[in-house]
């Protein structure tokens, strides 16, 4: 019972941090949803201003 509790807590902790990282990356538009992505900062956050000639 004790071992189950300790292992369960450790696993839950790992899962919590993995989930938090995945969620925050997704929220910031980072590429954690796609492996082998070459974009280091963000995938979607750049605003392209209207081009005036």
């Amino acid at each position: 019972m004790g071992a189950t509790l300790v292992v369960g807590l450790i696993f839950a902790g790992i899962l919590f941090f993995a989930g938090r990282k995945a969620f925050s990356d997704m929220k910031k538009g980072k590429c954690s949803g796609c492996s082998s992505c070459s974009s280091k900062s963000s995938c979607t956050s750049v605003d392209i201003k209207e081009i005036k000639f």
Binding site: A22, S32, G33, C34, C37, S39, V46, I48
Partner: protein, 646 residues
């Protein structure tokens, strides 16, 4: 101190940025790789006595008056953020043309230091420039560098920091505009006249070089395409069948197949951990993540080979080659760059559509780019190749050929539906062929590996744990004896009828396809978890447990379904951002979903008829779906024609 790197596309800005900052940003041997600004601190060894120095890497631009989205970013940063110094990277391989942008930068007023990059090519070609005279004419320091070999960098930064400390104002070159002459023409005339004075020796451009001779073969209108497919087949054969496959086999079968699970099971049993928690960790988390991580060596070998190809300059020739076919579907060869970038990951591929000026062309390219199999899809391709086609090396490359056919047909359909003007002409600057840098390829390889591991240990770990829980528990939150009574089975059963026209039966396959929307590697991980509960046999074994769900034809159809339906969530986010319009995003997703579905149905039903000589499962529903799709397309075509003729 803020230092901006500005210059023409493919002049080597990001290579210099990586050297100056120690970063490993993606570098490609073609124009349009950087489409966003990047910022990082200057390495200590180059920043002596300058305090905190920030380096800004900007997208390439031919002119300060922007023509494309990424050129606008460059203009906005230079004019809006006012860096202390601009390092203008001048491409030694295209010296005269690069100076047009240089003269514009000199007029902004911010101190400029010119770095003549690829100075080795300049010398190799037999060009000789009097830098001292040029320096006097421009009124700014000029330093010759070769960024990829890290030569001349210390001298450059010494000069840049010296200029930055003075905080002076850059004087503009004296360009005289004659009556009625346009400013840009006067600028070009000024550069030509200046070069006559400072260019001591000029190489003969009419001479046919070795590079020209190679181009005549690899970019040939008939031989070019077969050569490209042969090259891709060779890369795949080496990666999947050769070294990559061997290493992945070891990681899959021995490391994650025996060593890790046996060790963990022994440990957990020894300390008395509850069997359910043990199964969650070993079969769910480790089993799922391990099934994906097992493909890491293979992916590393593949990306190493692709980085070598790209760095050699070959991929730019592929873009020229494809232009011929792309013109026919209303796109230009410019659309091939996002697709080549997308073979690594769909996200930067979609972002690279920013270099396309025409809105319709950009949107169509954004929709078509995710059809190119990205790195995340490789584990899925490899798994099905290993299990169902262990003796065939054509399955991986065939997916690329299939993707190419789908892009051409998809492009024709989209053009008919949404494009009413002819495509723009395409001019691509071909970089010099060069011996690819092993260091660059190794950096790229480890970079992709890092991304792969991060993803496996975050989103895939979370998803696998969820999938394991959903297949082991019922809605009453009690463990189930039979998977078919689980939460996952209940949800999968709702969607399973949709797969019947594809000849696929079973809630497991529907559930697998849904988890693949989150991240494509989840297809492999979910199958690993689902099958681990019913069999101890390795997921990757040829003719293994997976063959109870598919025959080779339906396996290939399922592969096509998962590869060609909409990409992962993150890539959909990038599509939304680039299209800038929800209506177009939904059109794109609808198109991708329908293409993936229809292609899978066609492969399954026609394949079954041809290979087994009988109709497959779901033949009648397949006919109904295909008929409905044909009717829908006809109606949409007619509506578009009416709009076109109005």
């Amino acid at each position: 101190m803020k230092i901006a790197l500005a210059g023409n596309p493919n002049s080597g800005k990001t290579t210099l940025f990586n050297v100056l900052t120690g970063k490993t940003e993606y570098v490609g041997n073609w124009a349009g790789v950087t489409v966003d600004k990047k910022e990082a601190p200057l390495k200590g060894k180059y920043a002596k006595g300058a305090g905190k120095v920030t380096i800004l890497d900007l997208p390439g631009a031919y002119s300060i008056s922007p023509y494309t989205g990424e050129e606008a970013i460059t203009r906005d940063v230079i004019l809006g953020e006012a860096p202390d110094v601009i390092i203008n990277i001048v491409d030694g391989a295209n010296f005269e043309r690069s100076l047009f942008f240089t003269t514009q930068l000199l007029e902004v007023g911010i101190p400029v230091v010119i770095a003549v990059n690829k100075s080795d090519i300049l010398t190799k070609r037999g060009n000789e420039i009097d830098f001292k005279a040029l320096q006097e004419s421009f009124g700014c320091p000029i330093v010759a560098i070769t960024a990829n070999m890290e030569t001349g960098i210390k001298a450059l930064m010494h000069k840049v920091i010296e200029v930055g400390k003075v905080k002076g104002t850059q004087l503009a070159p004296a360009i005289q505009v004659t009556d009625g002459e346009e400013k840009d023409k006067a600028r070009q005339r000024y550069i030509s006249e200046l070069l006559l004075k400072v260019m001591v020796k000029r190489h003969d451009t009419s001479k046919i070089t070795l590079s020209d001779k190679v181009d005549r073969i690899v970019a040939h209108k008939i031989w070019g395409l077969p050569i490209f497919f042969f090259v891709m087949w060779a890369v795949y054969a080496f990666s999947i069948e050769g070294l990559g496959g061997y290493l992945s086999g070891f990681v899959n079968d021995v490391l994650f197949g025996e060593i890790v699970p046996n060790a963990l099971n022994g440990f957990f049993e020894g300390i008395g951990v509850d069997p359910l928690l043990q199964a969650l960790i070993v079969d769910g988390a480790i089993g799922g993540v391990g099934a994906v991580i097992g493909f890491l060596p293979l992916i590393m070998v593949l990306f190493f080979c692709l980085a070598l190809l790209e760095d050699s300059g070959y991929m730019s020739r592929v873009a020229v080659l494809m232009d011929r076919y792309f013109k026919k579907i209303g796109l230009s060869g410019k659309s091939i760059i996002p697709m080549i970038v997308g073979s690594g990951c769909a996200i930067p591929g979609v972002m690279a559509t920013r270099t396309i000026e025409d809105d319709n062309e950009k949107r169509i390219t954004t929709i078509l780019t995710p059809f190119v199999p990205c790195g995340a899809k490789l584990p899925v391709i490899t798994l099905f190749s290993m299990v169902f086609f262990p003796e065939s090396s054509w399955v991986g490359p065939s997916i690329y050929i299939l993707a190419f056919i789908i892009i051409i047909i998809g492009g024709l359909i989209l053009k008919r539906l949404f494009v009413f003007e002819p495509a723009n002409s395409f001019i691509l600057e071909l970089p010099e062929y060069k011996v690819p840098s092993i260091k660059h390829a190794v950096t790229q390889m480890f970079d992709k590996a890092k991304g792969f591991i991060i993803k496996a240990s975050t989103i895939i770990l979370v998803m696998n744990t969820l999938v394991w829980f959903m297949q082991a528990y019922g809605f009453n939150f009690q463990p189930v004896d039979n998977q078919s009574a689980s939460i996952l089975a209940s949800l999968g059963t709702i969607l399973a009828p949709l797969l019947i026209p594809v000849g696929l039966v079973g809630w497991q396959l529907a559930a697998t396809t849904v988890t693949g929307f989150i991240a494509k590697e989840n297809v492999v991980a979910t199958l690993a978890i689902l099958l681990a509960a019913v069999s101890e046999e390795s997921l990757h074994a040829p003719g293994g447990e997976l063959t109870t769900m598919f025959n080779p034809v339906t396996a290939y159809a399922f592969l096509a379904l998962n590869l060609f339906i909409p990409p992962c969530f993150a890539a959909i986010g990038a599509m939304r951002s680039e299209m800038g319009d929800k209506k177009w995003l939904w059109r794109g997703l609808g198109f991708q979903l329908s293409v993936g579905y229809i292609v899978a149905i066609l492969i399954s039903q026609i394949g079954t008829l041809v290979v087994y000589g009988k109709t497959g499962v779901g033949f009648i529903p397949a006919i109904l779906v295909l008929t409905a799709y044909a009717v829908l397309l006809t109606v949409l075509f007619k509506r578009a024609d009416r709009k076109r003729n109005a």
